[in-house]
Symmetry: C2
Subunit: 220 residues, 2 copies
């Protein structure tokens, strides 16, 4: 209880320090705090770039696993995780996560690492400001399916994952140190994008990784 209380005090101090009046999230980069407004999305028909864009600007995603938990064994199970595919100025397309083995979905993934991740423009105020319903296809969302992999400790990739996540989720560095945190990433095998009328489109995985979320080769 005391540890929980101290953690709460630390987190409270942390967010007060980092909060802007309008609620904009702080993105820390290279030790300096920056407030970032994302550029407009790429043209709708450049589906690889749009998928990269929605991934990169997303602060969190919904991660589905195959449940191992009592009463719902074998059911699909969906949970919320903070996510980052890189610090604000470096998108990789690969979703990184910060996990503790105590967590429900992490327990599931130990038994079966097949996962699906959805990120959506509806999670910011982008869609509501445009007047798009969350299910309106123009409120873009991308569905990534693949396998979750653990990132080895003390590697360059771990350092990248840490910076990708901690620079965009400032409170993470203050999360309880006794929870055996580690980093994970999805090895993407399949991508669907919904960004316009006419149904979901399959995005080629290679084209996705070759695309740029902010510079499209196509014109709107």
């Amino acid at each position: 209880m005391i540890r929980q209380f101290l953690t709460q005090i630390r987190m409270l101090k942390n967010w007060r320090k980092n909060l802007k009046q309008d609620g904009t999230r702080v993105l820390v980069y290279d030790g300096k705090q920056k407030y970032v407004t994302w550029p407009d999305p790429p043209p709708k028909d450049d589906i690889a770039s749009v998928a990269r864009y929605v991934m990169h600007i997303s602060e969190f995603g919904s991660l589905a696993t195959n449940s191992t938990h009592k009463g719902i064994e074998g059911y699909p199970f969906v949970n919320i995780f903070s996510v980052s595919d890189g610090p604000f100025n470096k998108s990789t397309g690969t979703p990184y996560f910060y996990f503790t083995p105590l967590e429900l979905s992490v327990i599931d993934m130990k038994a079966n690492n097949k996962v699906s991740l959805t990120v959506t423009e509806a999670q910011s105020d982008f869609c509501s400001k445009k007047g798009f319903d969350p299910e309106d296809p123009r409120c873009s969302h991308a569905i990534f399916t693949g396998v979750m992999e653990k990132i080895e400790k003390d590697t360059e990739e771990e350092e990248f994952a840490r910076n990708a996540l901690f620079s965009r989720h400032v409170e993470m560095s203050s999360w309880p140190s006794n929870h055996d945190w580690f980093f994970g990433k999805i090895k993407i095998q399949h991508i669907y994008l919904l960004d316009f009328f006419g149904g979901a489109q399959v995005v080629d995985v290679e084209e996705y990784f070759a695309a740029n979320p902010f510079e499209s080769k196509k014109k709107d």
Copy 2:
């Protein structure tokens, strides 16, 4: 193509008409438009009421199914849907959906109707305004697991579901009529709530349905 274009024009007119300058969504009720600001959440230790609250205020949720789609058969699959458990002044606790048989997850559910739904306070600006990271446990989210059921046509329940959804998702009534839309609901079998430090808590399903999202028996 012409039909898509006409649909787009209709939707465009629809949202322009209903948009407030600050991007607040319009909730229509009894034919009159109302702009609603939700009351504060119930006390954290009243987990049944908090779960009802997060469900009721949510505009969309992440729905997980067991995939039947090419290349990802048997993988968990998560997708975004607009949701409503009732019009703004009547919460039932049951999540209702508006589906077309053409949709990816709907095709999955035809083969296997086991599903999981997550709704989170992170989807509004509630958490970012408080300075809570989306994965911060105080940014409450609820995970419902159960089976999806189709609602029979021309029943009282269908009328309720239609009003629940259309009153809070104003553009739904203009969605293309040739898509064989129908209503669905989750028969909830299991509920997890994450709303504070210390891990997820199981919410008793009966207590959940007996609770009130806006009137707690407990004091904060």
